[in-house]
């Protein structure tokens, strides 16, 4: 196999940019939602829980269509964003990032929520008696103890984002250089008569990427666990 071409590198870089940006933006929200779902009972909690999990069970095309309706230039949220902030998501790489964030969100929330629920809450009570405010307890006790779940959730969501196809192609279409991520590029090559070789090359890149992501996940999780069981200095 010859080294990747400039076009392939561009596709790969775009995929990483879209998935990375989506994870970066959705992580704080996911932590907040996971914390709320793990710790509080509030009216409409079941509904929030259902909405968060919806992308996991809906056909991705439906999610993409919903995003198009809501965030499209004429959509209620999309037109508002355009008018007040000049932000346009439809047919832009940021829209692809939104689609991948929405699709990865349930995986992220689930992993973080489980690890928050596993924390012995009496540790937080102990921290309070030692003089820590609620907010400081969150940052010094709760989040560090939830770190394995946060790492797992982030990588699951990242992997989901790199593989995202249905919602992306529906919402932001398949524009080379703007929204054409790895899966979309592979799909495009399979649609032309002589594209099999190209599709195969990109597939190999996808496999390598997945292996790297998995290995990183393993390494980070082990590191996070070691933080909790070993000396830090």
């Amino acid at each position: 196999m010859t080294p990747p071409t400039a076009n392939e590198i561009q596709i790969l870089a775009l995929s990483l940019k879209v998935a990375g940006f989506s994870v970066l933006c959705s992580l704080p929200v996911a932590v907040l939602v996971a914390f709320a779902l793990a710790r509080f009972t509030f009216p409409g909690k079941t509904v929030v829980d259902a909405i968060v999990h919806l992308p996991l069970v809906l056909p991705p095309v439906v999610v993409g269509f919903a995003l198009l309706v809501l965030f499209g230039k004429q959509g209620p949220i999309g037109s508002w964003l355009d008018r007040w902030f000049g932000i346009v998501l439809a047919f832009r790489w940021t829209g692809a990032a939104l689609a991948s964030a929405v699709m990865g969100f349930p995986l992220m929330v689930r992993a973080i929520r489980l690890s928050i629920e596993a924390i012995d809450r009496r540790l937080e009570v102990a921290a309070r008696t030692l003089g820590a405010s609620r907010l400081w307890v969150l940052f010094s006790i709760t989040l560090p103890l939830a770190l394995p779940g946060i790492v797992t959730g982030t990588l699951l969501s990242l992997a989901r984002g790199l593989g995202e196809f249905g919602a992306t192609i529906t919402f932001v279409s398949n524009i080379p250089g703007e929204t054409q991520t790895l899966p979309l590029a592979i799909y495009t090559f399979t649609q032309v008569p002589s594209g099999d070789a190209q599709a195969l090359r990109l597939s190999v890149i996808a496999v390598v990427l997945s292996i790297v992501a998995l290995a990183t996940s393993e390494w980070l999780t082990r590191r996070a666990l070691r933080l909790q069981s070993d000396d830090r200095r």
């Binding site: 309070r128 008696t129 030692l130 003089g131 103890l145 909790q228 069981s229 070993d230 000396d231 200095r233």
Partner: protein, 367 residues
């Protein structure tokens, strides 16, 4: 001064406790489910009582009438939990300093070096909680609470998850705290042995109510409290000083207001003060000084009072110098010796009836 008056409803359980005590170590005694933990939680600010008032040294921490409920992080109440609850993601040193970091420099009266030295933690500072033994964990938990510079230290059954040697070790450390630091301790326990060993004043709880408050020996010996205190071994506590060691004989001599006691050799230096507990049933009486006897402690005294509840067993208090020693004898012996108030008797106590658990270190420092 610890002033507690709280009412709380937890499901079917009703807590309605009122007491005011002042002592270096206050024992909060009661069986499980009597409301001990609810009381210390209320003092620490964990959960909110239905009604009441809590004051420590005059500072109001909670007052339902005036709408005051100081949050736990601003109460400065140290809390040592039953199972240590060390932070698993921090090493021992970071655990110790967790609360200290949140105090201003001016508030840091108890230094880290002092705590490390007092609790013998120098060798475990870099370890993680998971690698510590139960006793070490509890010592770190005590140190962590102390470094948060509390005005009072609450200990909820701190020995419950430890084996006997570890418990004895922690008891020794707690006694060191009593004398080295001027922080009142509320020690929660369902164990008569621990309460009598440590506490000066005891609060007895049963079914969410406060049954009695007072001096440990007075309260724990009261027959009317027996349903709550259980089969309590009546006895007396004597403050004594180590005057000599006789290594060749394997004995240590202690002096108190009323004479000397010989006990199996202790690892405590001469001049140190001790609290010695003598169980009433370990005390025998004689009208004349018995010759050729294995009992090493024979002390002249006189009968001060007789507690006769018309049963087969009679509790006596014997004045030996300024000290009072309780004795428990049968009605038969009572009649045989013609015991009556003021009668001169010899108090006989076997040296072996003093075990490690009944000898507390009341002096500054440690063996």
């Amino acid at each position: 001064m610890i002033d507690v008056d709280v009412e709380e409803r937890l499901g079917a359980f009703r807590l309605d406790v009122k007491f005011a005590v002042e002592a270096p170590i206050v024992g909060l005694f009661g069986r499980s489910g009597s409301g001990k933990t609810s009381v210390v939680n209320a003092i620490a600010g964990i959960g909110r009582p239905h009604r009441g008032r809590i004051r420590i040294n005059g500072d109001v921490l909670f007052d339902s009438d005036r709408g005051i409920d100081v949050p736990p992080d601003r109460r400065r109440v140290g809390y040592v939990f039953q199972d240590a609850l060390l932070f698993p993601h921090l090493d021992v040193e970071s655990n110790l300093t967790y609360g200290q970091r949140l105090r201003s420099a001016a508030e840091r009266v108890i230094s880290q070096d002092r705590v490390v030295d007092l609790l013998g933690l120098a060798n475990v500072l870099r370890r993680t909680p998971q690698t510590l033994s139960g006793g070490e964990k509890q010592r770190v938990a005590i140190g962590r609470a102390l470094l948060a510079q509390p005005r009072i230290l609450l200990m909820d059954e701190p020995l419950a998850s430890l084996d006997v040697p570890r418990s004895v070790e922690i008891l020794d450390y707690i006694e060191r705290l009593r004398h080295e630091l001027a922080i009142p301790i509320v020690f929660v326990s369902h164990s008569v042995a621990q309460i009598t060993r440590l506490a000066d004043t005891v609060v007895v709880l049963a079914d969410g109510k406060c049954l009695a408050v007072g001096d440990v020996e007075d309260v724990m010996g009261r027959p009317d409290l027996r349903p709550a205190t259980g089969r309590y071994e009546a006895g007396s506590i004597i403050d004594a000083e180590v005057v000599a060691h006789q290594a060749a004989l394997g004995l240590t001599t202690l002096a108190f207001d009323g004479g000397e006691l010989r006990v199996p050799e202790l690892d405590v230096s001469v001049g140190k003060r001790l609290r010695v507990r003598i169980r009433a049933r370990d005390v025998s009486l004689a009208l004349t000084r018995p010759p050729d006897i294995s009992i090493l402690n024979v002390l002249p005294g006189s009968v001060a009072s007789i507690d006769d509840d018309a049963g087969r067993i009679i509790d006596l208090t014997i004045a030996v110098g300024a000290a009072r020693i309780s004795a428990r004898i049968t009605r038969y012996s009572h009649n045989e010796l013609r015991i009556e108030p003021g009668r001169n008797v010899f108090v006989l106590v076997k040296a072996v009836s003093f075990d490690q658990r009944s000898v507390g270190y009341a002096g500054a420092g440690h063996p």
